[in-house]
């Protein structure tokens, strides 16, 4: 039996045995959902009852749904502000941590560990800090340093709510980027900085000419990661604002959650997720193109 099969076939079968356990779950929960998601989006699909074929109706209805496009606008604006902010903050903190100092463990814990905390715990804490009562932490200290005159309700206006969501998100997730950049910074040979110093390059010039080229690839990866994260924005909105005030902080995923799981319209939710997919791709490509260009031109200077 064994010898009747050619050797490379036997080897191939053996290799598949190693792959099979993972491939099984990959097929069931990654590949099949992609196909299923496609099929569902063409149907009126609910948990109970027979699905009804609709053709493109789900896509058309979502396309014409102004509430959906509002959530797209909200999410894109969030991404446009939050992605560069977080990336820049990550590089800055990594540069700070990359200097010689005593007791480095503490700042590492402080800046980086939040990225590994669950969303709910830290969002509860922020929500409590940003309470509207005068003795809530933010109100108390911001009044004390004279930044605000009266106690504020921080999530009552769209602009304020978004500002805090962006700040909290950056605070929460930047740590992962910091680790990325610390790793990249440590690969830079110190002689390059020495040479730049001898050439009379200032700190900014040294950053652009030495640091930036070395961390460029990591930066691309980081940006792509943050774009994905930004378009997946859900937990912050769910806990802090529930989409309010007046739907102004609803995001695409939040909308998908409402349609798919509160109203149980799975077919339409599947269509929404394909829209999200397309928007993420388009946005990711634009971002990378812009970034490539700006990094190149910075290096040419």
């Amino acid at each position: 039996m064994k010898s009747s099969l050619p050797k490379h076939v036997r080897k191939g079968v053996g290799a598949y045995l190693f792959l099979l356990p993972h491939l099984f779950f990959f097929a069931l929960f990654v590949a099949a959902p992609l196909i299923y998601g496609m099929i569902m989006s063409f149907h009126d699909w609910r948990l109970l009852g027979e699905p009804r074929f609709l053709g493109l109706e789900n896509f058309v209805r979502v396309w014409k749904d102004s509430r959906f496009w509002d959530t797209v606008k909200n999410t894109v604006i969030f991404a446009v502000i939050s992605v560069p902010t977080t990336v820049a903050l990550g590089i800055m903190l990594a540069l700070i941590l990359n200097q010689k100092m005593y007791g480095k463990l503490w700042p590492l814990v402080a800046f980086v560990s939040p990225a590994f905390f669950g969303s709910i715990g830290i969002l509860f804490s922020w929500d409590w800090i940003l309470g509207s009562q005068p003795a809530a932490l933010a109100n108390y200290y911001l009044q004390k340093i004279g930044l605000i005159n009266d106690p504020m309700s921080w999530f009552k206006s769209a602009t304020l709510a978004w500002t805090w969501i962006i700040i909290i998100t950056a605070w929460w997730i930047v740590g992962f980027s910091v680790l990325l950049y610390i790793g990249a910074l440590q690969r830079i040979p110190p002689e390059q900085y020495e040479a730049a110093k001898i050439d009379g390059a200032g700190p900014w010039k040294r950053f652009v000419n030495v640091t930036l080229p070395w961390i460029r690839n990591v930066m691309f990866f980081d940006v792509a990661r943050h774009v994905l994260l930004a378009f997946g924005l859900f937990d912050q909105v769910y806990i802090l604002t529930a989409g309010g005030p007046a739907g102004s902080t609803r995001t695409m995923v939040y909308y998908l959650y409402l349609v798919g799981f509160e109203r149980q319209q799975l077919g339409r939710a599947a269509a929404i997720s394909w829209y999200i997919f397309m928007i993420v791709i388009i946005f990711g490509l634009i971002q990378l193109a812009l970034l490539t260009q700006s990094v190149r031109s910075a290096e040419v200077e």
Binding site: P21, F25, P33, S113, G121, I129, Y140, F231
Partner: protein, 287 residues
């Protein structure tokens, strides 16, 4: 003399720099400190005291006691256990399926290898929300709704771990295995006896990341869990604090529960931050 002065001046500079960075760190960590402080106060004082007090007086552990038993229909203590069980099983199962798959992709040759590898990589760039709706339906179809399996199984198809372990295995010199091949060792033995001990750091890294991912997971359990006895900690946390009606009426116990969700992660971070750093770097290589 001059030289000594220079050294002393650079030492002073380093001390000042360190202190400044420590202070910024303390400021940065205020949300965690405040969570802990609030959890050690009675709720009534926590809400009313003005100015806010950083060291509770007296310190009370009542909030933690309240959280340990069922309060408002939600048993946070039980949800901690649920989260722990799910995270441990997800981690072990994840490693068990990812290790051989990574080995096959790194070292063996088989038809379709390229296609499988590149689909594994490409899928990493897909937004996870794309899988939410169809997986919800698939889990329902498999009659796994409201089970721990619904939380564990879909994650086993994730490709990040396979990709990461493969990258790590490629860095192992082939000569280490060749002797075993000549001795007639089976591939399985090579994997368990030679490769696995060599990639132990990567396994620790991946294990921690899988554990934390499961421990922190929110949207998926929110969708597939329906009965409170199955709730994981993040879900219990949300339901628990909502159960008080008025947002801050249960702030003491809520902050205690929140701190319980954060504390283990903090410990893991302090102990394993080197591994986490390696994991983060590995995740970006080759992209």
């Amino acid at each position: 003399m001059n030289h000594k002065k220079k050294i002393r001046r650079s030492t002073i500079r380093k001390i000042i720099y360190s202190v400044v960075v420590w202070l910024i760190g303390i400021l940065w960590f205020v949300p965690i400190f405040w969570m802990l402080t609030t959890s050690l106060k009675p709720t009534t004082t926590a809400i009313t005291e003005n100015p806010p007090r950083w060291i509770p007086n007296p310190i009370t552990f009542d909030n933690y006691k309240a959280v340990a038993k069922a309060a408002g229909g939600i048993n946070v203590g039980r949800s901690v256990w649920n989260s722990l069980v799910v995270a441990v099983v997800a981690t072990i199962a994840g490693l068990l399926v990812s290790i051989p798959a990574a080995y096959a992709l790194a070292r063996l040759k088989f038809p379709g290898q390229k296609i499988i590898f590149w689909s594994y990589v490409a899928i990493l760039a897909f937004p996870s929300v794309l899988f939410l709706v169809p997986n919800f339906f698939i889990i329902n179809r498999l009659h796994l709704m409201n089970t721990f399996s619904a939380l564990i199984l879909p994650g086993l198809g994730g490709t990040f771990g396979v990709f990461m372990l493969r990258q790590y295995m490629l860095g192992i010199p082939r000569e280490l295995e060749e002797a075993a091949v000549i001795d007639g060792c089976s591939r399985f033995r090579i994997l368990t006896n030679i490769i696995v001990p060599l990639i132990r750091p990567a396994l620790v890294t991946l294990g921690i990341m899988t554990f934390l991912g499961s421990w922190n997971s929110f949207l998926w359990p929110l969708i597939v869990l329906t009965s409170s006895s199955k709730f994981t900690l993040p879900i219990a946390l949300v339901r628990f604090s909502a159960g008080w009606g008025d947002p801050y009426r249960g702030i003491g116990p809520s902050m205690a529960a929140a701190f319980i969700s954060v504390a283990p992660v903090l410990i893991i971070f302090v102990v394993f931050h080197r591994y986490l750093m390696r994991g983060v770097s590995l995740s970006s290589i080759g992209k």
